[in-house]
Amino acid sequence: MFEQHSPVLPIILPLIAAPICILLGRSQLAWLFATFISALGFGISIGLMLTTLDQGVLSYSLGGWEPPWGIEVRVDAASALVLCVVTGISSLVLVYAKESIAKEIDSSQHTLYYTAHLLCLAGLSGILSTGDAFNLFVFLEISSLATYTLVSLASDKRCLTAAFRYLIMGTIGATFILIGVGMMYMKTGTLNMLDLAARISEYDSSRTLNTGLAFILVGVSIKLALFPLHMWLPPAYTHAPSAVSAFLASTATKVAVYVMVRFIFTIYGAEYVFHTMGMDTILLVLAIVAIFKCSFMATVQSNVKTVLAYSSVAQIGYMILGISLVSTLGLTAGLLHIFNHALMKGALFMAVGAVLLRTGSVDIKAFQGLGKQMPLTMAAFTIAGLSIIGVPLTAGFVSKWYLVTAALEQQEWTVAFLVLAGSLLAIIYVGRILEAAYFKNPAEGTTYKEAPLLMLIPLWILVFANIYFGIDTSMSVGAADTAAQWLTQPSSSPATALSVNMGGATQ
């Protein structure tokens, strides 16, 4: 009987599980329960993706009120794809977290950690599936508040200033989005995304709508750490607990990229954003600067988590680059990179977390000689690192390949060249760490055990996913391609209404 409600379940399951976690009290129970809920959400998300690809967009009206009067949950291929990433990574991270947080977070706060994780998951799922612009803001804030909490849970005091900076930047971003939504509402009188799209297309150009879009884009850019507004990200990811870094790096910014895609393609329409307002050039330039500046920053850091954080900002540059190419293929590449980057960054941060657990440090010096002492962890790190570089047979290669193809399709030779050049920098920053791990000798008299099994399993699942999606691309590319087509040509997407009142149950 739950099938007809499936679009809303990934949001409300973690939302209702979070308070239950608090009531459960014991951290062991909370862990089991949270992992179970997250895995359930993952299963539902996969089901949603299959249904969507098969039958078209799923729409679910909350409270039985038809949109635009009520709030609509709307799952299309793009949301289902990112939803799968988010719930999947969340489940793996939760499995991983039990051992990881044991050392990094005070034991009295483990239950709070799981609760905050579930709230964050609920917020992210809500952002992905909602079809209402203001509802998106509300879920954005749920996930953000939970994120600030998660970051500040680490025992290192620097996590506090990092979380505070994140809070200030994040709230400014959210407020900008709020201003933008207000301006859209002012001109259209509606908040439903599809309805907004229909009514915005009636205006050729409007100053208020332009300003609204500008504020939304700036606000979202803060959330996704686009280049000049990325300053909050490196400290937050560096000082957060490893499990949190792994979760956030592979989900939170991706969801923000999704929000940007949603606002550009679904609500305003590519025509308005790119032709009337000329946003594509700005985004393209910022993306390229982000790739080079932050890849370079990554090469000079000594803290491995910071390296990975800067690398994240650079990789976000690739996603934005795909979007700014203004083509279906470019958007496919961007969405594909969201998927693939989640796999590799998740694996990398998990591996670093395992190192932190055993060695107590994430400085690049701590990696010396680890290739022999923690062979499984470092092998995983190596494969995920190769994926970041974009070596063939890894997932990273596929998204780079599509990016280059999309750039060439638009005759953008320089862009294609720059994408390849960016990979060279990735070779340097990954190479430095691998060099330390395999070619340097450990400090004398230190021996470290291999990471515990509960951490290795999720880590290796992600690594295998990196290889699998590097070889068999039909699933990931297929979904990304469908998503991109539906986004660029909204009329091509078949829609199914999932509503009890309308008698439209899919079965």
Partner: protein, 118 residues
């Protein structure tokens, strides 16, 4: 003239927003930053409420003899946004208390010197 009558409200609200925004990004003291954030958000709320206002209208609660009501939708949105605002404020203030305990100061430039805040 009608131009001013039509827009004065928006302009002053924009000024207020920017005053709050300025406090957030220029203040050195973290508590003051939070105050600025609140001013910024409260002013955005005023923008929304201005959108929903209908001149000659009345509060959107049914009563006898009233034919024109203001738009209830912005009110609902802002109720939610106020709650979100106070939630953020409380978490921010809690962070400040912890920062004070850990660093001994809540002045931004002071702990940036002390610590390698990237």
């Amino acid at each position: 003239m009608s131009f001013i009558v039509d827009y004065y409200n928006y302009w002053i609200v924009v000024f207020l927003m920017m005053a709050g925004f300025y406090i957030v990004i220029s203040a050195n003291n973290l508590v003051k930053k939070i105050v600025g954030l609140n001013i910024f958000q409260t002013s955005v709320f005023m923008l929304y409420i201005s959108i929903g206002n209908v001149s000659g209208g009345s509060a959107p609660i049914v009563a006898d003899g009233i034919t024109r009501y203001s738009n209830p939708l912005p009110h609902v949105l802002i109720l939610t946004a106020i709650v979100v605002g106070v939630a953020t404020t409380s978490v921010g203030l809690a962070l400040i208390v912890r920062i004070k305990r850990a660093y001994g100061t809540v002045e931004e430039n002071e702990f940036e010197d002390k610590d390698d805040l990237i």
